[in-house]
Amino acid sequence: MSVISDTLDVTPKSRGPWATALRRLLRDQAAVAALVVFIVIVVFCLLAPAYAYWAGTDPFKSTLDAVIKLNGQDVPVMEQSTEGLGLGYTPIGPTWQLGNYFLGADNQGRDVMARLLYGGLNSLFIAGMATVVTLFFATLIGLAAGFFGGIIDTLLSRFLDILWAFPVYLLAISLSIVLIAQGLNLGIITIESGSLWLPIFIIGVVYVPYVARPVRGQVLALRESEFVLAAIGLGVPSHRILLRDILPNVSTTLIVFVPIMMALNMITESALSFLSIGVQPPDASWGTIIQDGQTLLYTRPMVALAPGIAIVITVLALNVLGDGLRDALDPRSKIRIGRS
C-alpha cells in the first residue's frame, strides 16, 4: 500500500549531554581563551620555587642589604633617598630584567616578582579549596533541605537566612579576626592560627548560602518531577534517589558554580589579606602584597599594581570561563556572576 521511502530521515545517533556541552564549550572562543589564560597563570605560579631558585632570591626573608648586579654595576636593593618610606631608603623600582628583581623590591628588600608567583600560588590554592568547601557543604545542605523538606528544610533554611543576612564581608572579617588569633579547635578538626586552611574554611563557609539556596531550589523542583515521584512511588530508598536521580541533575549547576566561586573567593581572600586578616606572614598572597605596597604606593606603585593586575586578569578569565560553561551546559540558567 504505502511506500516508506528510503529517503526518510534517520535521526543521527545522539550524543550524551556532556559531550554536547563540551563541544559547545570548545566552540566558544572567549571561554577557551580564558581557560588557556587561567592555565598559564596557574603554571607560572606553580613554577614559583623554580623562579626563586633561578633568581637566587628568597622571597620570604627580609633582605635589606642585598645587592644586585644591574647593567654591570652593583646596586643596593634599598636605595638611599629622601622620599618614600621616610627612613631614608627606598626600594629599587622595576628592573625589567627577569630573574633580577624584575618588578623591583618591596619595603623589606624582597623580590616582588618571586613573591608575586608564590602569592599567586597561595591565592589560587585558597580560592580553589574554599570552592570545594563551599560546594561540599552547600550540596549537603541543599540536598537535605530540598529533598526531605519539612522541619529539616525549615531549620536549614532559617540557618541559611541568618548566615546570609550577615553581610558577607563582615562575617568573613569577624570570623577571621577571632580565629586568626587562636586558630580553630573543633575537637575533630584543629587548624592552627597561621595555616592557610583558616581562610579556606572561613571563605568557604561564608559563601555556603550563596550556592545552597539555588541547589535547594533545584532539588525542590526535581523532587516534584515525574521521574522522581515515580521512583519514590516504586519504593526506591531515598539515598539511591538522591545519588542516582537528583545529584546528577544538580551537578551541572555545581559545575557552573566552580569558576564563579573561584573568582569570588579570590577577591574575598585578597580583601581579607589586604586587611591583614587573611593570609598571615610570612606567607604571601596577592592581597598581602597589595597591602605591602600601600606605604610605597606613591613611590614604588608597582608593588601594589602588579598583584592587582594579576587578580584582575585571573578573575576575568574565571568569569569568562564561568559564562562559557553556563552557556554550554545550561543556557537558560539564571546564575549570574560576580557578587556576594
Partner: protein, 323 residues
C-alpha cells in the same frame, strides 16, 4: 493581609535575633577566646585579669552577658566601648551613618544611571561590537577588587597626576561634613563614588542586558511588533519594564547591604569614617560592644532591604499582587 505582615515582621525579628546570637557566640564564645585577656592586654597579671573580668561581667554565664548587652543597646542606650571607656556606642555609630549614606547614595545614583544606559544600549545593539565591548568592560569592572581600584585611583588623582588640571581639584583623603562645607563634601566624595560604583555598574549592566534580551524572546514582544510599535518603544516600554523587576530586587538587596556597612573597604581606602570603617576598626581592636552594635545595625538594614524589596516586587509586577 495583616497576618502576612505580622508573619513577615516575626521572621525579620527572628533573623535579627539569630544574627545577634551568632555575633555574640563568635566573639564571646569561641573556644579559646578570652575577652578579658584581650582587653587587659598581654602579660596582664591574673589579678588584673580577674578585675577586668568582674568589671565587665565576663564571669557571668553567657546568656546573662548577652541579655545585659542587649539591654544596654536597646533599652538604656548606655553601652560603652571596651576600648575607650566612656565612649557611648550607640551615638558613635549614629554619627558615622551620614558618612556612609553620603557615600552609598551617591554611588547608587551613579551606578543606576550608568547601568541603565549600558544595559539598554547593549540590549538594543545586541550582537554588535558595541554590545560586546560594553559587556567586556562590565566584566572588567566586576573583576577588579574594589580596594585596589580605590588605591589605583588614589595613586592617579592624589599623586601621579595630581598637578594636572584634570585632578588638581581632588582634595586630600577624608570626609567633610555637608553642613560645614558642601563643596568640600562633594569633592571628597567624587573619587570614592566612582570607585564604589564601577563594580556595580559592571554587574548591573550585564544583568540588565541579559534580562532585556531574554524578555525580547517572549511572545508578547511578538504581539507588540505585530501591533506596529516602534522597536524603541518595544524595547523601553515592554522589554525593559518587565526586566526592571529583577533589576530593582537586586538593587534593593545590594543597597541595603551597603548602607549597613558593606562599603567598608572603600571607606578604609579613602579614609571616610563611616559605619564600615567603624566596624572594621572595632573588629581590629576587638571592641565588642561596638562590633555588636554595628553588626546589629548592618543586619537590620539587610533584613529591612529584603522586606522592602518584596513590597517593591509587588508594586512592580502585577502578577504577584493577586497571588
Amino acid at each position: 493581609m495583616v497576618y502576612a505582615l505580622l508573619q513577615r515582621l516575626g521572621q525579620m525579628l527572628f533573623v535579627m535575633f539569630g544574627i545577634s546570637v551568632l555575633v555574640f557566640l563568635i566573639f564571646f564564645a569561641t573556644p579559646g577566646a578570652d575577652p578579658a585577656a584581650r582587653i587587659a592586654g598581654r602579660n596582664a597579671s591574673p589579678e588584673v585579669l580577674e578585675a577586668v573580668r568582674k568589671s565587665f561581667g565576663f564571669d557571668q554565664p553567657f546568656y546573662v552577658q548577652y541579655l545585659t548587652m542587649m539591654k544596654k543597646i536597646f533599652i538604656t542606650g548606655d553601652l560603652t566601648s571596651f576600648v575607650n571607656r566612656g565612649w557611648k556606642v550607640v551615638p558613635a555609630v549614629l554619627d558615622t551613618v551620614p558618612v556612609t549614606l553620603s557615600l552609598v547614595i551617591g554611588a547608587a545614583v551613579l551606578w543606576v544611571v550608568f547601568a541603565l544606559i549600558i544595559g539598554i544600549v547593549a540590549a538594543a545593539t545586541r550582537g554588535s561590537w558595541i554590545d560586546k565591548t560594553l559587556m567586556v568592560l562590565g566584566l572588567i569592572g566586576i573583576s577588579m577588587p574594589v580596594y585596589w581600584l580605590g588605591e589605583m585611583l588614589n595613586l592617579i588623582t592624589q599623586s601621579r597626576y595630581h598637578d594636572t588640571w584634570m585632578f588638581s581639584w581632588v582634595p586630600p583623603l577624608g570626609y567633610k561634613n555637608f553642613s560645614d562645607d558642601p563643596k568640600g563634601w562633594f569633592l571628597t566624595l567624587v573619587i570614592p563614588w566612582i570607585t564604589l560604583s564601577i563594580l556595580y555598574i559592571g554587574l548591573y549592566g550585564r544583568v540588565l542586558r541579559a534580562a532585556i534580551v531574554e524578555s525580547l524572546q517572549e511572545d508578547y514582544i511578538r504581539t507588540a511588533r505585530a501591533k506596529g510599535l516602534s522597536e524603541t518603544r518595544i524595547l523601553l516600554r515592554h522589554a525593559l519594564r518587565t526586566s526592571l523587576v529583577a533589576f530593582v530586587t537586586l538593587f534593593g538587596l545590594d543597597f541595603g547591604a551597603l548602607v549597613g556597612g558593606s562599603a567598608l573597604l572603600t571607606e578604609v581606602v579613602f579614609g571616610l569614617q563611616g559605619v564600615g570603617k567603624l566596624t572594621y576598626d572595632a573588629l581590629l581592636n576587638l571592641d565588642l560592644p561596638i562590633i555588636m552594635t554595628t553588626v546589629l545595625y548592618a543586619s537590620f538594614f539587610v533584613v529591612m532591604a529584603n522586606a522592602v524589596v518584596d513590597v517593591l516586587y509587588m508594586l512592580i509586577d502585577p502578577r504577584v499582587r493577586t497571588a
